[in-house]
Each structure stands twice: as C-alpha cells, then as structure tokens.
Symmetry: C4
Subunit: 317 residues, 4 copies
C-alpha cells in the first residue's frame, strides 16, 4: 500500500537510493532495519561453516554455555556407547554390572578422558579401548582449545553498546522545531571520534505516477564529536533545507517513514572502529515533547549520566 | 601469442601498468589472477617459518584436522620409540610382552602423557623415563597451546565470503549496453562501506609495433555502497568513455582480455577491513544476456536473497 | 564559582564546545579530565556483563591474579561443600575422619578435579559424586579457557604508554614565550605517525553577563611527527594568534584553566592505532622555566633518552 | 666529524627535520636507523612489565622455546625444594631414599602436577603438601594459559617480511641515472596498497658556518602500487629536482649520507596495516650497476620471482 507523499523541495541533497545498496527493495512496505539495527532481509546461506563463527560469537552468553554443555554431554554419550560396544571387560576398575551400570561407568570414564582429568581408578587395558581413549583425549583437547578461542572471540569482539531513546521527538529547537533522539554509551570504555548519520526513507511519487521508496540523508546540528562520554541528543533541524520540514504526523505515517541511525566511533579498550545502528519508524515519533535532564551532579560536583533516563521525555505546551 | 587489438580512445583514464605492481609481467599470455582471486605468480620462499602461520590458517578445515591428527600420532610414535629404547622395565604397570606389545603399551603411555590425561595405571619409575615423560607432558601442553591459538586464528581471520556470478554479461543497459557481473555477501555478518573496482588488462600494440599488456580501470555505474546486504549487480557502461565500447567478442578473445574484480568492505563482526577478489577472462563473457531476479518476498513481506541464483542469467533478444 | 576572564581575541579558531561532546557540562568547576587521562564523569551502567571484559583487562596485574586465585578458592569451596553433603563414603581413598578432615579432603579432591590434575588417589565411586566431578572438570576447563583468553587480551591490548612531564612550563621560545610540556614513549615498541592535540578549556563571560565554559584548540609548533622515538617537547607559541597570549598566572587560575592533551599514533608491535591522554590544570603551570636535557650519548656515540628526567626543569632568569 | 657538503638547490622540498621526530639528534655521526630498520637510539625503560609482551612476542622462536623450557625447569626446582622441605613422608608412593633421590622424586611429582598430567603413582597425603600441590596445579594452568596466549600473539602478530637488496645502486635510468634498490615480499600473504618512502639524511652546512644534519624526502618514480606480488625496483630519478643530482661518491661519504626506506601496506591474511623499514648508508652504494633479472617463467608460462636474487647486480659500462 504505497501512498503519495509530498515531494521534497529541490534544495535538498540528492537521493541516495543506489549508493546505499538497497536499490532492489525499493517497493517494500516493511521497515528496512529492525529496531536493534539488524537488516530486515534474509540471505540464503551457502554452506554451514561460513557462518559458524559469526553465529557462535554473537549468540547470547546463556545460549553459548548451554550449547557447550550439550556438546560436552553428547560427545560423552557417543564415546560411552563406543566403550560399551567394545566391552567393559577391556577396562581395569570397571566392574561389570547390568547394561545401565556399564553405560554409566563408561560415561564417567569418557568424561574423565575428554577433560583429561584421568583419575585412573578406571583405565583402558585392551588395545581398542586404549586407541579410542587416546583419540578421545586428543579430541577433548581440540574441543577445549576451540572453546577457549571462542570465549576469547566473544569477549574481545569489538562492539559498541549504545543505548538509544525509545522514541524520536519533534521538540522545540531554536526558533522552530527539531527532530531529535538521545543516546548514551553504556560501556565504561570510551568512544572516541564518534560520528552519527540519519538516513530517512519514505515512499514518494515521481512525476510519472509511480511510487517508489527514496532515501535521503538528514543534515544534523552536530554530526561528529571528539568524546562520547556524556549523553548525546542528536538533532535534525526541521527548517531551512530539511526535506521534511512541512510534514505532518499523517504525512510521516502515510509515507511509511523510517529513520535509520548509524553510529560509528573508536572503542578505546580495543582501539577498533565500532558501529551501532538503530531504527525509528513513524510509530516511534512523539510530537511536542522534549527529553528530561539526564545529567546530575553528585556531592563532590562530579557529573553523572543517568543512563536509564535516556528515553524519558515530557510534553511541552 | 600477442595479438594486435584496437587502441583505446584518447579520452580514457591513463593506463595503470606500473601503479598496479605488475610492471614486470607485461608480456605474459597467462591470466594474472585466477578465478578465486589469487595471483597467478609464484614467489620463491626464503625460510620455511615465515609462511607457516599463513599456511596453517588458510588451509581447509579437513586438512587442518588431518594434519593435527598426523602430528599427534607422529609425536607419540617418536616418544613411544624412546620409551621402548630406554626399556619398559622402567615403568610400573607396563608388563613386558613381545616387542610389539611393548611398543603398543609405550605408545598409549605416550598419548596419556602428551594429552596430560595421565590415568596412572602405567607410570614412569626410572629416572630417565621420568625425565622423558616430564618433557613430553611439557611439550604436549605447548603443542595444544599452539593448536588452540591456530584454531582461534582460523576462526577469527577477517575474511569476506563474497559469491560471484560465474559469468560476466554484456546486457542491455540504459539506451545501450553494459558489462555486468553480480555478487552476494554469503556471510550473515554485514559488509559495510563496500567498494568495488574492475581492472581490465589486455594486449595492445603501441605505435612502434610492439605489443604489451596494458591495464585500465573501468568506470562503474556505482562503485561504493553503504550496506552490502542485498545482491549487487556491478555495471560498467559500454559507452561514452569506455575504452572497450567498440570491442567485439573476437576482440576480447584476441586481446586475451582479463577483468580483475577487487572488493573491499568492513566486516561487521570483526569490524575489520576485508578484501575479496575475482577474475573473469574473455571465456567467461556472455553476450546478450541478463541476470534473473534473485530477490523474493516471503509471506510476511520480508525480502530474501536467493544466493544460489547469483550467476543465473537468461538470453535477451 | 565561575569567574570572569578575558575574552580571547577575535582571530582565534572558533570555540569547539559542542563538537567535543562536552556540551552538557559547561558549568562544571571540576576539571573535565583527570591527570591520568580518564574523564571526570560517571555513567550509570546498564547490566553488569557489558563492562566485565573492559574491567578484567584494564585492572592491575596484581589485582587480576589475586582475583583469579580467589575465584579458584571459591569454586573449590563450593564443590567441596557439595561433595561433603553428598557424603565422603562415595569416594575411594577418602577415609572418613571428622567433619573438618572430610572437608579438607573434599577440597583437595575438588582442586584436583578442577585443574584436571586428577592424581586418582581419591576418586569418585558413587553415581552422584561422579556426575558432580564430571561437571566440575568441564567447568574447570571452561574457566581456564576463559582465563587463557583474558591473559591474552590483557597482554595484547593495544595501548600507548606515554610518560608526560608533571608540569606544563611557560618557557622562553623564539623571541617570546611558549607553553610547553614534554613526553617520552616508555615502550620499546615504536610509535609511528604520532599526533598531538591540546584542548584548553576555561570559564569565559559572554556579552550578556553569563559565564560559561569554553573549549579552544591550541595551535602547536609541530603537531605530528613520523617517529616518536626520541622525547618530544610539545610547544604552543604564546604569541600571534594564541587566545591566551596576554594571560597572567592569576588569569589562568581564575579561569579554572585546563589543558587536555590528546596523543594518538600507530603502535608498531600491534600495528594498531593507540591513544594516550593527559590533563594539566593551572596548578601544574610553572612560569619561567625550561626542561633540562634528556638526551645523552653513550661511549659509542649512540643517543639514549633518560626517561626519568622527562619532567625535570630549571628556572630561567 | 661533520663535514661540509653541497647545499641542495632551492627547488627541492623543504627539509623535514622536526616533522620526523629526530630534531634532537641532529649532530649525531651515527646512522639513525640500523640495516634491519630499528632505530639507533635507546630509551630508558620505566618499569619492567610494560615491555614484557613486546619482548616475548618479538624474540626469536628458538629463544622463546628455550626460555619456556627454562621457566618450566625453574618452577619445578622451586616446588621440588618446597616438597622436600615439607618432607617426602607426606606423599604416597614416594619411598624415602637419600636426599638426592628424594629431590628427584619431588621434582617429578612437581612436573606431573604443573602439567596436570597427574599419574597418581605419587600423590600428596598431608595437608600442607596437598595445599602446595593444589597451588602448583593452579599456577601451572595459568602459566600454560599465558604461553598459549603468547604463542598466538607471536603467530598472529601483523608483520611484513620484505627482503631488501643489500645495496642501493646508481644505475642508468631514462636518459640519465637513478638511485635504486629492489625488494620482494617474502611472505605468501599478499601485500596490498603498498607504499614506499625514502628519507635521506646528511650533514649540511648552513650559511652561518654551522653543520647540522638535515632530512629530505626523495621523490620516486612510483611510490605506491596496488599489489606487491612481484619484485619492486624503487627508483629515485637523479635529475630534475633531486637534491643530490650532482653528488659524487665522495660527497655521499663525506656527508655521512643515510637512506631510510619506509614501506607500508595491508597484509592480506590479517588484513592489517604492516610496516617494514630498511636503511642504507653511503657504504652500501654501488655505482654504475644494475639489478639482474629476478623473474623467470616456468614450463607452463607462469612467472616466478627468484627471491634470493633480490640483491644481485651486474656492472654496466
């Protein structure tokens, strides 16, 4: 359901359709970026291995540890089965019981081998059990080497953790109005030379009666700061050259407007360039409101940023 | 077999021979870059260690694990031989049998020491066996530390995985024709600020009757995009200033034409600059064809890139 | 207590208030940066995990090892308690004694399991003890994998170690005076393409009688060098366009002047961009003094930088 | 022994003394850079820890492994002494012998604990021995975690391995002469966007009769190439604007001339910027010579760079 919206005035920057890389999805009615900054598009994977590292280092910590535990148990189940099939009589210290008892003993021997704890109260005596146990301990070390690398990869992955206000406000600004959101760096690690960019996309009718999705960069009051150590209210002045200065609430909704926020800066702990993204839709817009103060001074006069207030706003007359 | 080809018209960009670094191989008839993007040139190595890391982190996973297993077995064979030569009577729990049985026992003791599983049903009692076992366990830890580092190095190596169309098409473009190929980012990790460059090389006769290999950059419709999250059809317009706008199929073949594609962008998971390369020769050119659509919308309207269709094309009249 | 200070002359560079990112703390009387270069502002944290890596890799080495040891002991106390609660009769080799003796034995079994040393003179026989021991050894490997990654993260963290002079001097320079401090790269690793910037902030009255904090960059004699292998005396000439050329000692103090020093360069060992910061206040200023020589030649004529003299100065008439 | 040399003509680029960072060592008669590219200057260290990582990852592999082995032996000697002092009667399986035998047994128990191999034929029974053994196994894991990290740090350290010709030649070039050296990338990993710079320094008398050391950049025929996959002969044309175009062999020697070569490029395996440096003095100059061909084609027409010939030259009439 693409609707006609006002054409932006001529003075604005040229539309960016192709330069952004979204040339092929111009007619989608879905937002292009989800609120968490990931793109709302799927790509068919080719081969499973290519994305394994990405998958393992970006999943949640709880999922990661659960997966590691399941992997540990599965491997032990596999090797325990092999030991039972070979025969528990090929072990010293593993007194044969019923099948269940044998399997349990084999499982524990397996786990003692995989982790290389090797108490020795159970030990392989036969040739084949010795070979399998040898392979298992080798495999165990490889596995834990892998987990070791993944843990480091997860920890050290350069990533910004920027908290964005939930809403984007139309607030009083200078003699007119400004479109603004607020953000705070939620990490103790400083962000240096931080830049922000807002890309707006909306449905627009061309001269010939066709409606396509267009992309425009919005100019900002300040687009780069040296140190992102405070909160930052990013402002797009809704006058002069703004392509959306005369838009009403309905215009934004009808045009399926989306504001994509792109932040980049240098993370000081890892000294690497990091990116953060966020997206607002017309539904996230609040009119005639301004953000409440987020800075408070403690008793000794040192300022403190109250991160949890990042999205709090109050109505203005 | 260098052949005469048409000299490009004067308006084009200056040839890049020396600036590319290929000044010395101008007369080769071989392609300069293989299809996988590696250079078709060998360099004599000086010292084996310098390239070890490169070799170990770029080999296939299957080869890597096979090599690790062979290394594990070899080390155990070496140490087992040493233990047998010292004498199995210097071990507790290693009841002497025939030479074969002794070697097998020594091998298993070695593997239990190398992996530090150390069950203890066999243990060294003599001075010399204790020293060797001590060194082996130390060596084992170093080895697995190394493998641990290599596994991480392999996993975290910043690399793009861009899938290129197998062919480069001469397709209708605007009022004329364009030379185009298509590519998709096959990783879930986004590629940001992606740039592409096409360098064309072909044999060309200079005024004095000598034929040399020349390099020209081809100008592109779009050479940089902000987000490479969709597919990207890279287009060189075959008109205006193109040095090859009047070339026929035979001209390309006679000139031994090669198109080297250079892609770079920032990988979002590692936040590092990554490169991908590809090369097309005259044999990969398809005339009067265009790529089939690669984008499909699922039931909820979210676009999906069908990566496997990246190289599919259809003939145009 | 904001005081009036002279307004800088018109010729100087525009104030940088907003571009720096400190727009919101203009009225603070506290210094904005501590002497060690950290910002004098707190940010409320959201979630504990986000800052864990930053916390663990930036703490002092002694604290890190102490924390690791405490963690090791705590984990063993937890598992020892579990083993005692399950019952020491479920272990081979753990002859029941009094409760204290049992706990001690359980503690040692736990530590042998966690570190996977697993001598085996104590070993689990019961089902539940075997399960717990299995989990503990798995947990132990994860823990040491984590510590392994953290140790590497600490070691390899790209960071400059620049030693700054304690004071900032007003010394004779050319036909007039210069504001200068001295610094030395205290690492053996070279710093390449090093840049320095001084940002000065002070209280200033605007036309309307309001006093606000303003930020000005100070121009430098040399602001970038190719190799920071010697000492570097950074000089701001106190004439021509300097906004502070007529300031007296009292002016600096009344204005609550602060000089923030920002250094960046490429560390040669890690080949990464690194930053160093330092801050001087009016209290650190020394008038009519110059730094003593820091370079000495050894017997074979090779220069040596005496890093410990970096802040030594002598009075000039 | 600073000598007068011809003043360079006015057309050349301005001298770079201060911008290079060597301002303070202008009067040295020693070369500023050693042939391996390290600076010929010492810096007093402050604290030992700061340079440990740099030291451990840049030392030779043989030294590194020897150091690791010595560390392993030392730790075992320390713990063995502690075990003997506590008393060998607090161990199961360590039958008391003479003091020497006791120490040897304690040493082996220590190594089995440190590496966590823990066979168990010797095990601690007393409280104090158990505590010490527990600490040793913890310490052992930390140590091997550290070595693991260092091994990875050594392997993955981004570094170029560029082989330079031993000499810098004055060879025929165009209608005149050029100053040239040759280099080859000795790694299989490609170097992308490689840049080279030559800085020349020599003693020069100013108008007032003082002789100081001056630094000049030398302009190059080609200073940047896209792919450093072949050999590269870097040429400074000795005519037009060259500050040294009329220098004789004696002039270079009298002026204590030094040519510092700075190479940087992107290593493709690690995708990081890497640097290489080299330095030539007047003694390395060879007059009227040219490099012999370094490129040969194999039977299938693929070019091969004979790296070992990088410095080979032949005299020209």
């Amino acid at each position: 359901m693409l609707k006609f919206v006002k054409a932006p005035r001529k003075i604005i920057t040229k539309a960016l359709d192709k330069e952004l890389g979204f040339g092929k999805v111009l007619t989608t009615e879905k937002r292009l970026m989800l609120a968490d900054g990931s793109f709302n598009v799927h790509r068919e994977s080719i081969g499973v291995w290519d994305n394994t590292y990405h998958f393992l280092v970006t999943m949640k910590w709880s999922t990661f540890f659960l997966l590691a535990l399941l992997f540990f148990i599965s491997i032990n189940l596999v090797f325990a089965t092999m030991y039972v099939l070979i025969g528990v009589e090929h072990f010293t210290g593993m007194s044969p019981g019923g099948p269940a008892q044998d399997f349990v003993n084999a499982f524990f021997f397996s786990s003692q081998t995989l982790t290389t704890v090797g108490y020795g109260h159970i030990s392989p005596t036969g040739m084949i059990t010795s070979i399998v146990a040898s392979i298992e301990s080798f495999f165990g070390l490889l596995t834990f080497a892998l987990i070791s690398g993944l843990l480091y990869g997860r920890f050290s992955r350069p990533a910004a953790r920027v908290v964005f206000s939930e809403n984007i406000l139309v607030a009083p600004y200078k003699e007119s109005q400004g479109l603004m959101f607020r953000m705070v760096n939620a990490r103790k690690s400083e962000l240096i030379e931080t830049e922000v960019q807002i890309l707006m996309s909306f449905n627009q009718e061309d001269g010939a009666g066709n409606t396509t999705r267009k992309f425009y960069p919005l100019n900002l009051e300040i687009s780069k700061i040296s140190f992102f150590s405070m909160s930052w209210t990013v402002v797009h002045p809704l006058f002069d050259k703004s392509p959306i200065k005369d838009f009403s609430k309905e215009d934004f909704e009808n045009a399926n407007a989306e504001f994509m926020v792109l932040v980049k800066g240098i993370d000081e702990t890892s000294q690497q360039l990091v990116h953060a993204r966020h997206s607002y839709t017309a539904e996230n817009m609040v009119w005639n409101a301004k953000f409440v103060p987020i800075l408070k001074y403690n008793a000794s006069g040192i300022p403190k940023i109250l991160t949890s207030l990042v999205g709090h706003y109050e109505k203005v007359a």
